[in-house]
């Protein structure tokens, strides 16, 4: 039987809805699990409970063959005994220690020689050469993030827990580190759980994801599955990106990329660091629908397709059309009625190149 992670817990904070989470998934070396949800959804509490920093009133947490928490059986394993790497959102670097001191902090059990060797390895791996003697506050945000990660993995933990690892960075650095983080984690080959509210991060980093909202897990699956096939309206609202398709960039000209998705090609804004394999993400709000055969507009992408599904969202309706790939649009109910859309109607979907988000796919 494959090793499993079992999280089943109840935790209440005064004045907030209780967090009741059940999550179970097979642990694979280097697999990255994403806990995705808006702030207040309880995802950080779950991560902290797995770290042993939060004590649920009730529940069990099992990692492979070790039980970390079993309230019924009176098992409460201290964070020190769980052999985990944990990185807090603001990194929590020790201001009293140098970079090397921070990385060496949890390596007290190693002999001095091995410790020094491990610290040097980490400085090398995380591109921090020459910064060993520097205090954390003298570093840039990206460097601090790498020190925190180096410190968390220095003792070779069996599970890595990252709380919003990129959110403290400015946007350009975040974009750059997103890809780096993925390859680093794959290189380290430690099973990880990452908490985030950013769908682009989820698609880049995650092998699997659990969508959380209001203290409960709403859906689990691969990121592409969850984003393109949300189990219900609530998940669709939480994830915010309705169309995720696999594509490849065939041409880049004048900063516009031509992306082939199945039989159709789309125009998107090109970003320099992309490989050719991408996820194409389009938010439903950015898609307009009209009956086939209309005039030219400024929108770069117009795709003809047939209506495959219509879901009511109160005053809005979610319309999925097949135009080489399933594309979801959100329009008002009155527009739905005016256009007379029903299943099978032929429509043209339009969206601007800037609405097509390209996320690298490894």
């Amino acid at each position: 039987m494959a090793a499993k992670m079992i999280i089943d817990l109840t935790k209440t904070f005064p004045g907030r809805p209780p967090i009741r989470v059940r999550l179970q998934y097979p642990i694979e070396t280097s697999a990255i699990m994403i806990l995705f949800g808006p702030s207040g959804s309880g995802k950080t509490t779950v991560l902290r409970s797995v770290a042993g920093l939060e004590w649920p009133e009730q529940g069990t947490i099992q990692f492979s063959s070790s039980t970390w928490l079993d309230t019924a059986g009176g098992v409460r394993v201290a964070p020190q005994a769980r052999q985990i790497g944990y990185m807090a959102q603001d990194y929590a670097l020790f201001p009293t220690h140098t970079v090397a001191g921070n990385i060496a902090y949890g390596l007290g059990k190693l002999a001095a020689f091995d410790r020094k060797k491990r610290v040097d390895e980490m400085l090398e791996l995380f591109q921090l050469h020459g910064l060993g003697g520097v205090r954390p506050r003298e570093l840039s945000g990206g460097q601090q993030q790498r020190v925190a990660l180096a410190r968390a993995v220095a003792s070779r933990p069996q599970l890595l827990l990252l709380d919003e690892p990129l959110s403290a960075l400015d946007a350009p650095t975040r974009l750059q580190l997103r890809g780096e983080l993925r390859s680093l984690l794959k290189q380290l080959a430690i099973p990880s759980i990452i908490v985030t509210h950013d769908w682009a991060e989820t698609l880049t980093l995650g092998d699997a994801m659990a969508v959380m909202s209001g203290g409960a897990v709403l859906q689990t699956g691969t990121p592409q599955d969850v984003f393109s096939r949300p189990a219900n309206v609530e998940v669709a609202r939480v994830v915010g990106v309705e169309t995720v398709a696999q594509g490849s960039i065939v041409e880049v000209r004048e900063e516009l990329a031509t992306v082939q998705v199945g039989a159709v090609s789309l125009t998107a804004i090109a970003t320099p660091e992309l490989d050719s394999d991408v996820f194409v993400c389009i938010r439903a709000e950015d898609v307009t629908l009209e009956l086939a055969g209309s005039v030219e507009t400024s929108a770069r992408n117009h795709l003809q397709g047939t209506v495959k599904a219509i879901t009511s969202l109160g005053a809005l309706a979610q319309v999925t059309i097949l135009c080489g790939f399933p594309l979801t649009a959100v329009i008002t109910r009155s527009a739905l009625n005016e256009l007379g859309l029903t299943l099978g109607t032929t429509v043209t979907a339009r969206f601007k190149a800037g609405s097509v988000h390209l996320i690298p796919r490894r």
């Binding site: 020190q80 020790f94 009293t96 902090y105 968390a152």
Partner: protein, 224 residues
């Protein structure tokens, strides 16, 4: 100047400040980190010497360590002489009297330590005690120095408790403040003035030290 009294006083103040580091740190740690709901009762007991008249405190200590109390009896059985009116008895009283002056700055410093740093230390496999020595203590050094200096200075000037518990024995329990009182009683204002000036200078010096420590010296002198 009565150099014997000055020696006794400085010895008493140093030993008190030293003992309060040993006793005060665990109490302060408990006060800042315990989640016990009735904690405030203990906090109030620790702070009691701040508001209690020294003579009242002295009276209770005297009774508590006297030959008729269990503590006093145990002490005289072990050591061979009773505790009141000895230097050891005076030290005991001084420790209790200056307890809040050490514990409160210690506890305030511990509370300033970001809990996230402590949690990070735990997840790195370092025990609670290890975290205290490797992380909490270095981060609280300004508060700990403040507590030591304040309890030292406070012991220098104590009068009521000394008189009640220590009496006025030359070379044993006669401290500077009692010496000044004796000089004034004997109308020797010149002698009193010299000793008083010394105490004033030392007290001012220690307060300068406290404020200097808490002015974030390290922002001015970056440490390497």
């Amino acid at each position: 100047m009565n150099w014997t009294a000055i020696w006794v006083t400085f010895k008493l103040a140093s030993l008190t400040a030293g003992a309060l580091v040993v006793i005060g740190l665990p109490i302060a740690y408990w006060v800042s980190f315990s989640r016990w709901r009735w904690k405030f009762f203990i906090q109030s007991i620790v702070a009691l010497p701040l508001v209690l008249p020294p003579t009242v405190l002295g009276f209770y200590i005297l009774v508590a360590i006297g030959p008729h109390s269990p503590i006093g009896q145990l002490y005289s059985d072990l050591v061979g002489h009773p505790l009141p009116f000895t230097f050891e008895g005076l030290l005991f009283a001084s420790i209790l009297y200056s307890l809040p002056f050490a514990v409160q700055p210690f506890a305030a410093a511990f509370e300033q330590v970001d809990r996230k740093l402590i949690e990070a230390s735990w997840t790195l496999g370092v025990s609670r005690l290890g975290t205290f020595f490797k992380l909490v203590l270095p981060l609280s050094k300004a508060g700990i120095l403040t507590g030591m200096v304040l309890s030292f200075a406070h012991t220098l000037g104590e009068f009521g408790v000394v008189l009640m518990v220590g009496g006025n024995i030359e070379g044993v329990t006669r401290t500077v403040s009692i010496d000044i009182y004796d000089e004034v009683q004997a109308l020797n204002y010149a002698g009193a003035a010299k000793t008083a000036l010394l105490l004033l200078v030392v007290s001012y010096g220690t307060l300068v030290l406290v404020y200097a420590i808490n002015r974030k010296v390290w922002a001015v002198w970056p440490q390497k």
